[in-house]
């Protein structure tokens, strides 16, 4: 690669430098934060009973791991999230398609969709427990309530904003409505749908945790709730940290899928 000009090499060096700089500070911030936290805890500047400390979080993590049910709690939360994520996606896509197909239905349900989407679903929590029962179903139901409406609205608005000129083109070729749908509407909204996956996975996780806080015997939300009830702040913070990692991993997987799909289409 010695064929590059000096200027280009300099450009590459600058790019690499910037990348290292960004990574360095990303790590530095978390290290700095943890160090301050740990030192404050050890010196007794803060009350570890209320605010825990990094070393205690690690201890709690290890003991949870040894008790052997940590993986189970994580799995329960992930499982519930994936279930509601998939169901929300399927319902969202189907309903959005129906609304696209029939504008009159869309007009009729529009105000209901808006109300259902803006209503804080946690307010329905007590009702859901009474109707669905204090079990996993009501957790999934809660997550569905949160993620389905936003999925419907996003996919539908994507469908609707399809370039009308493309539709006209297909009409000049005498395309039927179903042909317009699967030749144009769906492929041209691939990116909308992938974007929707990203929002949907976060929403489903929010819903699942909310449901687990209300009613559960297992899961990360349960650990957080249990920890707060017995005033074990170590457990609460450890669970929150694990939850953060879990949500990041799920989001990361979705964005990998997104990259792959966009790569295929261009």
């Amino acid at each position: 690669m010695s064929t590059y000009s000096e200027e280009h090499k300099q450009f590459l060096r600058k790019r690499r430098k910037n990348k290292i700089f960004v990574h360095f500070f990303q790590i530095a911030i978390i290290v700095f934060f943890l160090a301050i936290w740990e030192i404050s805890a050890q010196r007794g500047w803060i009350n570890t009973f209320l605010s825990s400390s990094p070393s205690k979080v690690v201890d709690t993590f290890c003991s949870l791991w040894q008790q052997n049910d940590l993986l189970n709690h994580i799995w329960i939360t992930v499982y519930e999230t994936l279930i509601s994520f998939s169901i929300a996606l399927i319902i969202g896509f189907l309903v959005a398609s129906i609304l696209w197909w029939n504008k009159t239905i869309a007009k009729i349900v529009d105000p209901y969709l808006t109300v259902m989407n803006s209503l804080p679903k946690v307010a329905l929590g007590p009702l859901i427990i009474i109707w669905v029962g204090a079990n996993t179903n009501s957790i999934i139901f809660m997550a569905l309530l949160i993620s389905t409406f936003i999925t419907i609205i996003n996919i539908y608005s994507g469908f609707n904003s399809t370039d009308s000129y493309y539709i006209r083109l297909l009409q000049t070729l005498n395309a039927k409505k179903y042909q317009i749908f699967y030749k144009l509407i769906v492929p041209s909204n691939k990116n909308t749908i992938v974007n929707c996956l990203k929002i949907n996975i976060s929403m489903s996780l929010i819903g699942v945790i909310m449901g687990e806080l209300l009613v559960s015997k297992e899961g990360l939300g349960y650990l957080i709730m249990y920890g707060s009830q017995v005033f074990n702040i170590n457990l609460v913070i450890t669970s929150v940290v694990i939850l953060g990692i879990v949500s990041y991993v799920m989001y990361y997987i979705i964005s990998c899928i997104e990259k792959k799909m966009i790569k295929n289409s261009s």
Binding site: D163, Y165, R168, L170, T172, L173, S188, S266
Partner: protein, 249 residues
């Protein structure tokens, strides 16, 4: 010459909540086989409405359209190319066949041959974003030809292009239409384009549109559109049609 299409007293009214607009008042016109008819008129006079009615995209309010041939197929070429960015050039051209369920090895090969003949052979597996505006519009024409239409409806097909591309593309399109032996109706607001490309120029009046005048274009030494602009009658037609259009701002 054989008639292929008769437009008889066609009328078109558009309705919306604020009232109704008569877009086309009364258009009667015969189109002959293999001729290229240009329709010119002031902007917004209902030229596109006429093409939409001919291709069955819109209902007419009154009048009659008669085709003098069984199962006539219309090919509609739009102002913008509207190529799907997620389809290759070949797949874009095949979409009409897919929609009419007539895609098979034979029709596919015909489209590939068309692409090869008209200089797009090396791009058939490329995506539209790697092509220039003129090339894309040429692909759009091949897409229109792929369904083997009897009549081509060209709705200002060059107006989205820069003037140089426009000139050379109008030459190409003219050649393609003549080689393939197609009947074509070209809607344009460019008088030079209309005179240099067509056999007949139909001048429409302001909205509501009606046929104001029809010119049979006779040019000495008629050849390609670019060459035709040099013919001695060219300026005469230009002047006449300009007067007929009666453009006042």
């Amino acid at each position: 010459m054989k008639k292929i299409l008769t437009i008889d007293k066609v009328k078109k009214i558009y309705h919306d909540t604020s009232g109704e607009i008569v877009a086309i008042d009364n258009i009667s016109l015969d189109i002959y086989d293999k001729e290229l008819v240009a329709i010119v008129g002031p902007s917004g006079c209902g030229k596109t409405s006429l093409l939409s009615i001919l291709s069955n995209l819109e209902e007419k309010s009154a009048g009659k359209i008669t085709f003098h041939k069984e199962n006539i197929r219309m090919g509609y070429m739009l102002q913008k190319d509207a190529l799907f960015p997620w389809r290759t050039i070949l797949d874009n051209c095949l979409i009409g066949l897919e929609i009419s369920h007539t895609l098979n090895e034979k029709t596919k090969q015909r489209v590939i041959d068309l692409l090869n003949t008209y200089g797009l052979g090396e791009f058939i597996y490329k995506y539209p974003n790697s092509l220039s505006g003129g090339m894309r519009q040429r692909v759009a024409l091949i897409r229109t030809l792929a369904i083997d239409p009897d009549i081509l409806l060209l709705d200002e097909p060059f107006s989205a292009l820069d003037s140089m591309t426009r000139l050379s593309l109008s030459d190409d399109v003219y050649q393609i239409i003549k080689n393939e032996g197609k009947t074509a109706i070209l809607v344009t607001h460019d008088l030079s384009e209309a005179i240099s490309m067509s056999d007949r120029v139909v001048v429409l009046s302001k909205r509501p549109a009606a046929v104001k005048k029809v010119y049979d274009i006779h040019l000495t030494d008629k050849s390609t559109p670019i060459q035709n602009r040099k013919c001695k009658e060219f300026n005469y037609y230009y002047d006449q049609i300009w007067r007929d259009l009666d453009v006042h701002l």
